[in-house]
Subunit: 327 residues, 2 copies
DNA sequence: CGACGGTTTGTAACCGGTTACACGAGCACC
DNA sequence: GGTGCTCGTGTAACCGGTTACAAACCGTCG
């Protein structure tokens, strides 16, 4: 059995209070006593129990993060940014993927019991579940999702990015475009679609192509649907993976790109750069990092009113949208 | 303040022991008493404190996982497989990325205090640090890394996969090949290189091209180095991302592929399929899932002797290694 | 009717820390 | 020499659960 604070106290001939004081450096302890305690702790290889400490301090020193999935670069990057800041702030990170989990809500509730606050990403649990968390006093930050109840939120400027992208396409004489994605599953995606709609003039035509998932496989499938009928001037995809999947399939089918059709993605994942994909960059890692900071403010109590951060997006034009549409 | 078990006991007019019994369903409680307790718990919206429970049970009901990074599909998939099984087993998952962290070892030690066992992936902390964990009684499973001390391990059959890939290339008359990667940073990569060396006949030529990192950017850089000198017959990359980066740059440079040079990757990430990349598939998610199961056996004490699992790899031939080398 | 055995329930001691409060020692000051 | 202060340390009560053990209760049987 591992040594406890009482063992150390006995070994050093002091009380457990003194041991605790030495180890947390809280109040003055006579140097000779301190040395005795440290020697005893060293001798017994004492490591304080995280559980005992947490219970006494009534804090977990841990944050949670809930995401739908980790396949694909987007969520992974957000989690990475989050973990990195949380670690700096001395907090551990608990993860929870709602992927294939029918009991997502109860899993999130259970997680909330194990941390001081948590971040909820995109389409994971319903708003009502988040509200319940907040009502119960949990500290919650939403990412890539409109704020719920009194929770904080961090979002990218999706509308703005969508407008910039749309204007760029309009400059290339694009008039018939297809949005590939499912606005019903992700609030972020819905925002992007809305931004495009707002920027489009009346004489332009926007179709919505639903997909089941936002991965490369789906992108490739979408192309299949268009090989037998008329291609639009441009495809705008809900994320880069869809777009990359389309690129592969289009080039395999021998479609001239960007001459015959243009393709744009969203996120600016690393692969987009190497594929020459036009996209809207959003600061994925910074989304996670900002969420971690907001959460820390909530937990430490340095702020009580909800905050809603908007991070910039940026149009990145590459070779998949070069040149005007042929008349 | 939230209700505690004592509040519920008072409200129901029973002792805390009875409340605890009702809530954990351990021993027989008279139905009428049970109902009173449940009603009281409901009334007070009682949710048992995870910390109190954990301290009393002396278990965290949480597992850790340590990885170098989360950019790129490989680690993300392993983590996903791990989380999914851990959740099934009723355990939370703590993550720790050693990326850009100078104090990785102490961070891992701290994490070990907060969970019942942990998984250490690839190149993260030195062997000595893992040994210290094991000596201190921590349950440790290594993934993509040779076992250390008494720890369990889960690995893919790297040598076997490398041999299959090499034989495939030899069949195509490849004689001069370049391995792109850094065997010194990752034991997995070193194994792959060794497998190739073992399978190569004496008249073949294998060069090693070091890279700083295993991402697409590095892959693109590598190509730059070869555009001014002779290309080998084939590049074998330590992972798919390197290979994908090379593909993009090679095709931009107008190099005939697979005619002039062949390229192979490793992992079989989703993008590899759409890029037509020949690669060696390893079951990334299953690596994580297996680690979670082994860890559970260690923690539950159902097994005490170390186990070392080897998961299959599989050569996946696609268009980047089609046709024989031109004489 | 009392002994006996099984079922329910309560008491209290944990788990391993933190910390409010009290107490004693040492010192300066009047 | 007594008073009052500061400094260092110990006592004990927490934090919020689980659980060994004992006790109380109830029905049955001799």
């Amino acid at each position: 059995m591992r040594a406890t604070i009482r063992d150390v106290a006995r070994e050093a001939g002091v009380s457990i209070a003194t041991v605790s004081r030495v180890l947390r450096d809280s109040t003055a302890v006579r140097p000779t006593t301190r040395d005795r305690v440290l020697a005893a702790a060293d001798e017994l290889e004492f490591v304080p129990s995280a559980l005992g400490r947490q219970l006494a301090e009534r804090r977990h020193a841990a944050n949670g993060i809930v995401f739908p999935d980790l396949s694909g670069p987007y969520y992974a990057e957000v989690v990475l940014g989050y973990e990195s800041v949380a670690a700096e702030l001395g907090r551990s990170v608990l993860i929870l993927s709602t992927r294939d989990r029918p009991d997502a809500e109860s899993a999130v509730q259970a997680m909330a019991e194990r941390c001081d606050g948590l971040v909820v990403l995109g389409r994971t649990v319903p708003d009502a579940a988040v509200e319940r968390l907040v009502v119960r006093g949990a500290h919650v930050v939403m990412v890539a999702r409109p704020p719920v109840g009194g929770a904080d939120s961090v979002n990218a400027r999706n509308r703005q990015g969508a407008r910039a992208l749309t204007e760029h396409l309009l400059d290339l004489d694009v008039r018939r475009l297809v949005f590939v994605g499912d606005p019903s599953t992700s609030p972020d995606v819905a925002e992007r679609l809305r931004g495009i709609q707002e920027a489009l003039p009346a004489d332009a035509d926007l179709q919505l192509h639903h997909v089941d998932s936002l991965d490369e496989e789906c992108g490739a499938h979408v192309v299949g649907d268009y090989l037998t009928r008329a291609l639009p001037d441009a495809f705008v995809c809900a994320n880069d993976e869809l777009a990359l999947g389309m690129l592969g399939r289009l080039s395999a089918a021998g479609v001239d790109l960007p001459g015959r059709v243009k393709v744009a993605g969203w996120d600016d994942v690393m692969a987009a750069r190497y594929a020459g994909l036009t996209t809207v960059r959003q600061p994925m890692r910074e989304l996670g990092a900002t969420a971690a900071r907001l959460l820390d403010e909530l937990i430490s109590g340095s702020r009580s009113h909800p905050t809603h951060e908007l991070l910039p997006t940026q149009l990145v034009v590459r070779s998949t949208t070069l040149g005007k549409v042929a008349p």
